[in-house]
Amino acid sequence: MTQVTDTTPQDEGERPPALSVGPLGWMRANLFNTWFNSALTILILWILIETIPPLLDWVIFSAVWGDVGPEPCRAGEGVGACWSFIHEKGRLILFGLYPSAEQWRPMLVMVLFIGLVAASARRELWSRNLAYAWGIGAVVMFVLMYGGVFGMEYVSNTQWGGLPLTLGLSTIGLVVAFPLGVILALGRRSNMPAVRSICVVYIELIRGVPLITVLFMASVLFPLFLPTGVTIDKLLRAQVGMILFAAAYLAEVVRGGLQAIPKGQYEAAESLGLGYWRKMRLIILPQALRISIPPLVNTFIGFFKDTTLVIIIGLFDLLNAAKAALTDREWAGFYMEGYLFCAIIYFVFCYSMSRYSQNLERKLQTGHARR
């Protein structure tokens, strides 16, 4: 005998039990679901209560603000932060040894740079014009930094420093290293033994040494091989060293993405008559790079912070400029303030990258879940 239940379920009056929904339900399910979790919750609450108020007190309420010199800080040392240190040394930390009368130039460069980045983050603005804007922007930024024209004083790049140096080294580094990394990754998966060997050797060699070694070689060893009289700019050498280093890491990240693309995608592209480069550019790389976004951004962030190693060739990026500021006898000892200031700046940039990448991942999601 067949039984058929073909009535529409009545959806009236039936509510889930009160304690399983809403904030109370959430707390019960997540914070107090077992005795162990309850204990952890209480422990963490206690730690927060013990640490947050003193921290706020140090950072804000008992801190010394404004242009008051080091004395009030010394008087209340250990009680509150000395933000007058940042007030006094902020420009040194941000711009390094750049002549102070000319510091409006790196300031302008950063505004321009951040504006361009912000515009590029909006996909609807991606166009040929944006590329032109970057081209013109890059020239303007370099002219502003170097000067020597339009009545601006010439500033040698050995005097550049602080945040513009950090941003410049990392941006140019990544922009050049990324295509290089993609090519290395493709080369490592190539069918041609010579190409593959070269890429493998390069990647393994570069990954096998610390960045600081690469920079050291670029700055100290490399000039020894040049004929006398020929010099290559110190900053350029460091930049090239960083590019070569980043490319090896990015290559491995991209290779990971390439390996995740099913063979069928290659075959489908081939069966439609697409040649190698078109197949890669139109079919394989767009998918491989999308799934590589999290590790790519991870590498970007690491690289952004690694630029601080240019201290080895005597350049003062953001962090090293802060260290330099701390060598002032009058202001000695205010490490916390200096490092916290740098940390906040680093965090703002790194966190923005991270958030943007998550946003990009969501936008590029095209229903991979169902396949």
Partner: protein
């Protein structure tokens, strides 16, 4: 000896000619002395137990697999290691895969227009018109703006067929096009294929859909262990199989 076998022997005629083709995967001999000639407009169904080399055979025809001995000529172009020849053959031969292999990062419409635009250099608008025409033919024009991941398996496979058709191929290869589909979706794909067959396109199809073979095939080929064991018109093939292996295979797949 049938007319086809004679054509194969003499190396004459035929849009596809395979002469003494042998292929090994490492030590494993997957294709043994394959001689096959396919005439323009012919519909061929290839069947056989799994591992018999039937997929490998049709994948050789558009150079997705290399072969070690023999010769394959497609529409007068010999398939060698020459990349130009390979690309020329591939743009004339459409391929439909078991797993659809649509490009998940592109919309349905972009999947269809990509190859015509980049390989055939067709203007974008014209490519889109063609794409919409073929989407209409496979009866899903309303899905053009969606991504493949949003479609059912049957719809995806129909998009894949339309994608191949947009290149206006002379030959269509189908590699078990319905094997990855849920039963209720098989019919919608087969219907599209039958319609296509009735229009006179040359078609090679690896499938176990014997109903489809009876309806559209001019010739059914049975393969086992890398060899073509038997080939005949469907009526004769099913009702009066000659070799023991064919009989065994047919009894296994038709018994229920």
């Amino acid at each position: 000896m049938t007319a086809h076998e004679m054509a194969a022997e003499t190396g004459q005629h035929g849009i596809i000619q395979m002469l003494g083709v042998n292929k090994w995967f490492g030590e494993f001999h997957v294709l043994r002395d394959i001689n096959l000639s396919v005439d323009q407009g012919e519909k061929i169904v290839i069947c056989g137990p799994s591992g018999s080399g039937k997929s490998t055979l049709i994948r050789c025809i558009n150079a997705l697999e290399e072969y070690q001995r023999g010769q394959i000529i497609v529409d007068g172009v010999p398939l060698t290691n020459n990349l130009k020849n390979i690309d020329a053959v591939r743009s004339e031969v459409g391929m439909v895969f078991q797993q659809f292999n649509l490009f998940p990062h592109l919309t349905v419409l972009e999947n269809l227009t990509l190859a015509p635009i980049w390989v055939r250099k067709v203007p974008k608008r014209e490519a889109e018109e063609t794409a919409m025409y073929f989407l209409g033919r496979v009866k899903i024009p309303e899905q053009a703006a969606k991504y493949p991941g949003q479609l059912s398996g049957g719809q995806q496979q129909r998009v894949a067929i339309a994608r191949s058709l947009c290149m206006r191929p002379k030959v269509m290869l189908f590699d078990e096009p319905t094997s990855a589909l849920d039963p209720e979706m098989i019919k919608e794909v087969l219907d599209v294929m039958i319609e296509l067959a009735n229009e006179g396109i040359t078609m090679l199809c690896v499938t176990h859909e014997m109903g489809f073979a009876r309806t559209v095939a001019n010739r059914v080929i049975f393969m086992d262990r890398g060899q073509i064991i038997e080939q005949n018109e469907p009526e004769e093939f099913f009702n009066n199989p000659q070799s023991e292996r064919t009989q065994l295979f047919l009894s296994q797949i038709l018994s229920h």
